[in-house]
Symmetry: C2
Subunit: 219 residues, 2 copies
């Protein structure tokens, strides 16, 4: 194994639990919080990937708004502009997973980078709110190049900003589509398989599979 010079972390689902908005959703929509949260995330990913394929880029905050509206409608509920803003604000205060801080502290001294599809107006407030910001050397948004992961151009941009060789990167994500895209681009990959799912059948196996971020310490 070559030496890893940059540890690049996906944000949503990997460092931060996108379903930590469920409490807020449940207070707006009793008993529907889980269903809406699941559909919200599913459609958010679907929408930014579709926009990438169709050549109709819109930033992550817009896509997150659109997918929330869809999720609410699919569950036969309605949402007004204030409620949308409230939920987007909750999305800037997602909980990070329990082990995150400890793992980042143990990796200090290395180049630790966040690379996310989140637009700056979503991603930066989130990382600031979490208190994790001082533990990272850089936070890169795919919005800076307006190419969503898993497009190769997105990973290429992050690599350029990291200033290392692609085989010196260890990329970590809990998202199967993201870990496949990173492997396809040529990064070393560690899939944080938080939900115990099978490896994607894309002939792009991750180099390592861990159940949470602590696994990286064994890399």
């Amino acid at each position: 194994m070559p030496t890893i010079k940059a540890y690049i972390f996906d944000a949503y689902g990997t460092l931060f639990d996108v379903h930590s908005v469920m409490k807020e959703l449940n207070s707006l929509y009793p008993d529907k919080g889980e269903a809406i949260s699941q559909t919200w995330r599913k459609k958010q990913v679907e929408y930014f990937i579709l926009r990438q394929v169709m050549g109709r880029y819109k930033p992550f905050d817009q896509v997150t708004r659109d997918s929330l509206v869809y999720a609410v409608k699919e569950n036969d509920q309605s949402i007004d502009e204030d409620q949308i803003e409230h939920m987007l604000e909750s999305y800037r205060q997602l909980k990070h997973y329990d082990e995150t801080e400890e793992v980042l502290k143990q990796l200090q001294g290395n180049e630790l980078i966040v690379f996310s599809n989140g637009s700056e107006n979503m991603l930066h407030p989130l990382i600031q709110f979490s208190g994790l910001e001082p533990l990272f050397s850089d936070v890169i948004s795919a919005d800076e190049i307006k190419q969503y992961k898993p497009a190769p151009a997105a990973y290429a941009y992050a690599l350029e900003k990291a200033g290392v060789k692609r085989e010196e990167v260890l990329f970590m994500s809990s998202n199967g589509w993201d870990i496949s895209g990173a492997k396809s681009f040529g990064f070393h990959t560690a899939w944080i398989n938080r939900n115990g799912l099978p490896v994607e059948e894309l002939q792009l196996k991750p180099d390592a599979v861990y159940e949470d971020l602590k696994g990286i310490l064994e890399w």
Copy 2:
């Protein structure tokens, strides 16, 4: 409304019920047929769209095989090579929806085209088996250009083969991602909303929404 000179139909989910494999799945995996069928279709679409974004095209038969293997694993089951071949053969004998034949007969005299992401070795046997083949003037596979819908290049290829102007096309699909891609490209679109879902929040509303193909006769 300009005159429609070509009626272009998506195949899987639109003319043909992808879940008509459920009986075969249930005989292999008692009580798991529905779950496996749902995941199979979900991952099939996810995989060809991801391959489009990653620039890793593989034909639909391979993607359909991969997504079946994933779906079986996700449901804690296993599948051997003979069973995979058996299921792919079932996928070449999907049932068409009840109203399909009558609607196609009523539209005779018009240019009626199938345009699908299906590779020829999946799509042509399917249409032959259904008995619907004589009702179509052409069957176009995205595999001929190796660009999956909803990429604009895929719709452009179908348009070129249809030999009409893009505003003279009525494109029909039950798939939200497909109807959005066709609208984005500039076709007139009729969404066959078989599952009573909300319109996708992509700012690409279909021109008409019908609950099955009979609606097209009112266009």
